[in-house]
């Protein structure tokens, strides 16, 4: 399980960098879907922006295309990916 410090950092990053000004970062569930209905409702342009932010903030390159899909599923999958990439 990723640390709550990391998931909180990711949530704060999403809210500030994607201009989700109406959202409280803490109200985002760890496993809520980032894309599509029933979650944050982000789109492919946001995915590009998140990939850039993850590389800038955590020094980790997010793969592209189909490989990226499971990583971008939720805040917790993103956090797991970052932790694994940092330790490996």
């Amino acid at each position: 399980m990723p640390t709550s410090a990391l998931t909180s950092e990711i949530k704060a990053l999403l809210v500030s960098e994607l201009n989700l000004s109406g959202k409280d970062p803490e109200a985002i569930a760890d496993d809520a879907p980032l894309f599509g209905e029933g979650g944050l409702g982000l789109d492919s342009l946001d995915a590009l922006q998140i990939a850039m932010l993850v590389e800038e903030r955590f020094g980790v390159r997010v793969p592209e295309g189909d490989e990226a899909r499971p990583i971008f599923r939720s805040v917790s999958t993103l956090a797991e990916f970052i932790e694994q990439s940092k330790t490996s």
Partner: protein, 723 residues
């Protein structure tokens, strides 16, 4: 009235003239090489379609974009045998990058504080290259005088829309001929932006191919001379321009709407204007960028248009040969289509070997074919979902007669200023309410935070102004879609500087993809069309301090020519530290008595015969070279008792002084909204509101900028008066 193309010019990676480029295309050449113009860094692709035959202008104050435009313009004028000095000629130039290549490296410098003041002043003076209107200014200087000139942007459909605007000018009888087209040079902002969007194919674009991964950026210019088809022009005609139309997807700033509804609607409307049906079309010059999303979407739009006939119509894209030349693409592709019709040669799609299953329904052309083309469509789609289609025909074709010029009424008014947001006739109170503030405050909840989250400051001002203008009355859902024209003199200069600083300090991989669309000058119109769901034509126009007047003129022309029935027209300007420095350097300080502010305003417009409830009626909106101002203003009707004058800038007062309206009470817009380039739109909004409320029976608005002037009148609704 039929319009003929009597001259064409093009500069592309495949040639310095239109025939040279066309011959290369017919031979199947691909102009893709490694970039030499600047260091591409870690960009996703270093392969571009660069114009290596054109070197940097010797004078550092000139831009590469304007150099490309000038070469193509000279070619087109020479072929048409037209000299703007001896005939009434108009100029319409589309663009996205303008002087970006020259100014982008300066922008990051301007943010730093370590440079000496001389270095900063030198950098700032070169910023005059930057505005969208700068290449137009250069063409006017080198080739003019022109009777009227316009700078427009609708991102990658700018070239097609420039040709459409030129067509309306001929129909409305403003000029005898129009030089029109677009130009764009490669630059760091564009390469890194498209790279960040993951839109570049590292191997070079392959439109419609199963292996395609994106587009290849190109640069160049395409210019055409259009004339009315008199006997003399007909004899020199290359082909005819029969129809045009544009529609907005109102969907997403970078991703196309997958069903292709808006491109389909644009093609259908362009055919209707041409008096043709899909069965008359022999060839489609597709937008065909080679991105994974564009090509299937375009296939769906074409399948909808042609139905069972789809396999008959030959389709090709040259973006795998000359790259995606952005604004220039629509103009260069119109030139290619014109030559294809003239020569009876269907040009191929370079790079296409294995059509993708989703694009397989089309009749692709992989090698040029000799066969007559009676009529053809050229399509262009832009960022923000701004889609345009042109219909070109063989030289002997005739377009159907058009109805008379439509008159225009005002159905809504708004102003967004530091003193607050004003709607309808309340805008008339603005002169008394001005508080000397310089920044617009957005009230809590004024815009939906979720849907507006990507909108930059100018686009937010535009969305608010247009929404308020449309608040009092909006056309029913069955009506033809509403369009939007916004004036924006400088675009997002500070955001571009910030983007360049990241590029310089952190490299191509670290630029922000979501910020890139705002750097394209058309983005306020694109964002407003998306935010408000406006599916008609969307354009940005630029004419420095007269950008507001220019936008109103543009919108009124589109209505008068029957291209659209409902329009939102206004201007936006955001505060910019860099623009303030540039202006104070050039003009030696901001004009006295008015701090530079920000804001915007909009009018909702409709055709008088649409049955829309009118707040006021618009007289002709004139656009003229300042040298011809006396004649233009002399044509105004005399002012009725109590009429007022609104000035977009202090310099416009000199024009009014020589007119019959000189004794009228005058309001100077910058004095009530702060000095900025959208002040003209606020002058117009106040003029309309004062007339609508009955404060004045009529109002004249006048604006000027660097050699050009605009003037128009507003009258009480219902009162018949021709101006």
């Amino acid at each position: 009235m039929t319009i003929v193309v009597t001259g064409v010019g093009a500069v592309t990676a495949l040639g310095r003239t239109a025939p040279e480029s066309f011959d290369g295309i017919v031979r199947g050449e691909r102009g893709f090489r490694e970039l030499t113009l600047f260091d591409p860094g870690e960009a996703r692709s270093k392969i571009v379609a660069e114009v290596r035959s054109v070197s940097a202008p010797a004078d550092p104050r000139l831009s590469r974009t304007s150099e490309l435009a000038l070469i193509a313009a000279r070619e087109a004028l020479a072929q048409a045998g037209i000299d703007p000095k001896t005939r009434r000629v108009g100029l319409v130039l589309g663009g996205t990058t303008a002087g970006m290549f020259e100014t982008e490296s300066l922008l990051a410098t301007l943010l730093s504080t370590t440079e000496t003041s001389q270095q900063r002043d030198a950098a700032l003076s070169r910023m005059l290259n930057h505005p969208l209107s700068a290449p137009t200014d250069r063409l006017v200087k080198e080739l003019g005088p022109f009777a009227r000139a316009r700078s427009i942007s609708s991102a990658c459909s700018s070239g097609a829309n420039a040709i459409a605007v030129a067509g309306t000018w001929l129909e409305l009888g403003f000029v005898d001929a129009v030089l029109c087209g677009a130009a764009d040079s490669l630059c760091r902002v564009i390469l890194s932006g498209f790279s960040a969007l993951g839109a570049l194919d590292p191997e070079g674009a392959r439109p419609f191919d199963a292996r395609r991964r994106g587009l290849t950026l190109g640069e160049g210019a395409g210019m055409l001379v259009l004339e009315r088809a008199g006997e003399h022009a007909r004899a020199r005609a290359i082909c005819t321009l029969l129809g045009w139309a544009s529609r907005s997807e109102a969907h997403h700033i970078t991703n196309p709407e997958a069903t292709g509804e808006a491109p389909h609607a644009a093609m259908l409307a362009a055919l209707e204007r041409a008096g043709l049906g899909p069965g008359d079309i022999d060839y489609v010059n597709a937008h065909g960028t080679g991105t994974p999303l564009n090509d299937p979407m375009e296939t769906r739009a074409l399948a909808r248009l042609f139905g069972d006939d789809l396999k008959r119509v030959r389709v090709s894209s040259q973006k795998g040969m000359i790259g995606h030349t952005l604004a220039a693409a629509g103009a260069i592709e119109a030139v290619i289509t014109a030559l294809a019709i003239e020569r009876g040669v269907v040009p191929p799609t370079g790079g296409l070997e294995q059509p993708d299953a989703e694009c397989a329904a089309l009749r692709h052309v992989t090698r040029s074919e000799s066969r007559p083309i009676g009529a053809a469509i050229s399509s262009s789609f832009g960022f923000g979902g701004m889609d345009a289609a042109l219909v070109l025909g063989s030289r002997d074709r005739a377009a159907p007669a058009r109805g008379k010029k439509r008159s225009v009424v005002v159905t809504g008014i708004s102003a967004v200023t530091p003193a607050g947001i004003f709607t309808g006739t309340d805008v008339a109170d603005l002169p008394e309410r001005a508080d000397g503030g310089t920044a617009v405050t957005f009230p809590e909840g004024a815009l939906d935070p979720e849907r507006a989250r990507r909108l930059d400051r100018s686009s937010r001002i535009g969305a608010l102004a247009c929404r308020e203008a449309l608040a009092s009355w909006a056309p029913s859902s069955g009506a033809k879609p509403t369009g939007v024209v916004l004036g924006s003199a400088f675009g997002a200069v500070d955001a571009t500087a910030e983007f360049m600083r990241r590029l310089r300090d952190k490299g191509v991989r670290m630029v922000r993809p979501a910020d890139f669309p705002s750097l394209v000058p058309s983005s306020p119109a694109g964002y407003v069309s998306i935010y408000l769901g406006l599916q008609g034509p969307a354009l940005v126009v630029a004419d420095l301090a007269a950008s507001g007047e220019c936008a109103l003129a543009q919108a009124a022309e589109l209505i008068a020519a029957g291209d659209v029935e409902h329009m939102c027209a206004g201007a936006v300007e955001e505060r910019s530290a860099i623009v303030e420095q540039v202006l104070s350097l050039v003009f030696g300080g901001v004009s006295a008595g008015s701090a530079r502010g920000e804001g915007g305003a909009a009018l909702a417009l409709a055709t008088a015969d649409s049955g829309a409830p009118a707040l006021a009626r618009l007289g002709d909106v004139m656009s003229f070279a300042e040298a011809a101002a006396a004649d233009a203003l002399a044509s105004l009707p005399p002012p009725p008792e109590g009429a007022i004058v609104l000035l977009g800038s202090a310099s416009a007062a000199a024009l009014v002084a020589r007119s019959r309206w000189s004794a009228c009470s005058t309001i100077l817009a910058p004095a009530i909204c702060g000095g900025h380039e959208a002040a003209g739109s606020i002058a117009i909004a106040v003029a309309a509101a004062k007339v609508a409320r009955g404060d004045a029976p009529a109002a004249l608005f006048v604006g000027t900028a660097r050699g050009w002037g605009y003037a128009g009148t507003v009258w009480r609704a219902g009162r018949e008066r021709t101006t």
